[in-house]
């Protein structure tokens, strides 16, 4: 068995819209993989495919030696308990307090006491710089605070894999920096494997070991952060420089 995530020939369409058209990508255990791509290229769809929230039309996804496509509900739930996802829009449960949002997974899946769960949730919230929001409702938080609360919810269960969908979008530069440090810390200290979808190149170079660039349904760049930084021509160079002229189609 090869640990990590192997994606091959992955294809997904919605009606006539072809979103992914043969994606091949390997993510090794412990690595921090940054996934870049223009808006609407299917980055969020790819994350959802990996954990079975969507079903691909073609291709295979293997996580730690197990094929995700065709898993039973129970197998999927076992898989997902080792994963967390920070959704692009936060996806906090708006009927419960922020603290309960963070603690829900522990309350459902462990037999820890409410007191322990409260402590762990609070600690998680402190790690993302939100020490005083435990009793607040999600609607009372700012956009950036919601994103960080969602991050707290993702890390509280100490998963092996964390999928971040634009974790720093909409945050001020200083908060964004602390989130990037947190992602690095989780990676280095706890050995978490991360997939980070981002448009924020500062963040990308800070947290990423390896880079992938998704365009028109396929991976057009796959390399280390040094190779990405060194790219002087081709799609990766165009993306980093933010040039509307080049191999990546502009609007």
């Amino acid at each position: 068995m090869e640990p990590g995530i192997q994606i091959s020939g992955l294809a997904k369409r919605f009606g006539h819209l072809v979103v992914l058209d043969g994606v091949d990508l390997k993510i090794q255990r412990g690595e921090n993989r940054v996934i870049l791509g223009r808006s609407g290229q299917g980055k969020s769809v790819m994350l959802k495919l990996i954990v079975g929230l969507l079903t691909p039309d073609k291709g295979s996804i293997v996580v730690d030696g197990k094929r995700v496509v065709g898993m039973s509900r129970r197998e999927l739930y076992d898989l997902r308990r080792r994963f967390s996802m920070v959704f692009q829009g936060g996806a906090l449960f708006d009927s419960m307090t922020v603290g309960d949002n963070v603690g829900l997974g522990l309350a459902e899946h462990t037999d820890q006491s409410p007191e322990e769960i409260r402590k762990r949730s609070q600690k998680s919230l402190e790690m993302v710089g939100l020490p005083d929001v435990f009793k607040k409702m999600p609607a009372e938080l700012s956009g950036g605070m919601k994103k960080r609360a969602s991050l707290a919810r993702a890390i509280v269960s100490e998963p092996d894999y964390i999928l971040y969908d634009e974790p720093t979008t909409g945050l001020d530069p200083i908060t964004a920096d602390s989130i990037n440090r947190l992602i690095q810390h989780l990676d280095e200290e706890l050995g978490v494997t991360s997939l980070v979808v981002t448009h924020d190149m500062t963040s990308a170079f800070m947290v990423g070991d390896r880079f992938a660039l998704l365009n028109k349904g396929t991976i057009v760049f796959d390399g280390s952060s040094d190779e990405a930084r060194a790219a002087t021509e081709g799609p990766m160079a165009q993306f980093i420089q933010g040039d509307s002229q080049g191999p990546l189609d502009s609007l």
């Binding site: 509900r73 829009g89 459902e108 899946h109």
Partner: protein, 273 residues
């Protein structure tokens, strides 16, 4: 669907087409609802774990529905009494007034009107709540935490509705009969004893059971319709509104159709034999 230069025949066709799509929507919902129902049954072993969620939903359904049920029931009982008295003219003895009011309330008016009124309120709110969770990825977030949305969201609402509808119906029956009594004695010069004797006369507990069985099924229909439309909501706020509307239309149609079928089965086949 409607061409701009609609002739006189086209509006009629448009109406037929709209009815057709409402019926189609109900058929789709019924199919999806059947599947969801089976899925809910699958999660029943997790009832002990979900007790708090179920109690919370019972409270949500009961608490908000009581004022609505009171108003509906008072007027239903009052109208039933006035109409019965009017239809009796001088042909039917007035001592049957209480009998007729009680029977029509307990068998038909109580269960059906309660279900329609509570269905509109509860069905739309379930669909809107779950629909919002769907379009804001909260359902995906639950899935991601390995929490089954059917167990966590649908099953508690389903059980709560199945239990609360009969309770609200008993409540509604009592209020409606009281309303009828008040109108009869205060407005129609019927002596109090005549009305209450009528109530007792021909009283059959099967009528009450039959009404409550119907209410139980209506509760199931309301919850499943709300959950199915919520889970399949798509496309932002408009999609959530659409889901809420469809939940109410489907629930109402199914309540009326199943009321007929259940009536036939319960009162002709089971109790009639």
């Amino acid at each position: 669907m409607l061409p701009s230069r609609a002739g006189p025949i086209l509006p009629a066709m448009y109406v037929v087409a709209r009815m057709g799509s409402a019926v189609l929507g109900t058929v789709t919902d019924t199919g999806r609802g059947g599947l969801l129902f089976l899925n809910i049954l699958r999660t029943l072993p997790a009832i002990p774990k979900s007790l708090r969620l179920i109690l919370h939903q019972m409270f949500v359904i009961g608490n908000g529905s009581i004022p609505l049920v009171i108003i509906t029931s008072v007027f239903t009982g009052a109208v039933a009494t006035v109409q019965a008295k009017y239809q009796f003219q001088d042909y039917v003895p007035i001592r049957f007034l209480g009998t007729v009011v009680a029977k029509s309330v307990v068998i038909e008016l109580g269960p059906v009107l309660t279900a329609l009124v509570v269905g509109a309120r509860v069905g739309s709110s379930i669909a809107a709540e779950l629909g919002t969770m769907k379009v804001t990825e909260q359902i995906d977030a639950l899935e991601m935490m390995a929490i089954d949305p059917v167990r966590y969201l649908a099953m508690p609402r389903f059980l709560a509705a199945c239990m609360m509808l009969p309770m609200l119906t008993i409540f509604s029956d009592s209020i409606a009969i009281l309303g009828g009594y008040a109108v009869a004695t205060l407005g129609l010069d019927v002596p109090s004893k005549t009305f209450t004797d009528g109530l007792r006369f021909l009283f059959d507990s099967h009528d009450v059971y039959g009404g409550l069985i119907k209410a139980f099924v209506f509760g199931a229909l309301i919850a499943v319709s709300g959950c199915v439309n919520g889970f399949h909501a798509r496309g932002g706020a408009a999609g959530v509104g659409e889901a809420a509307m469809r939940a109410v239309v489907t629930a109402s149609l199914l309540i009326l159709v199943s009321n007929f079928l259940l009536g036939a089965v319960i009162f002709q086949v089971i109790f009639g034999a």
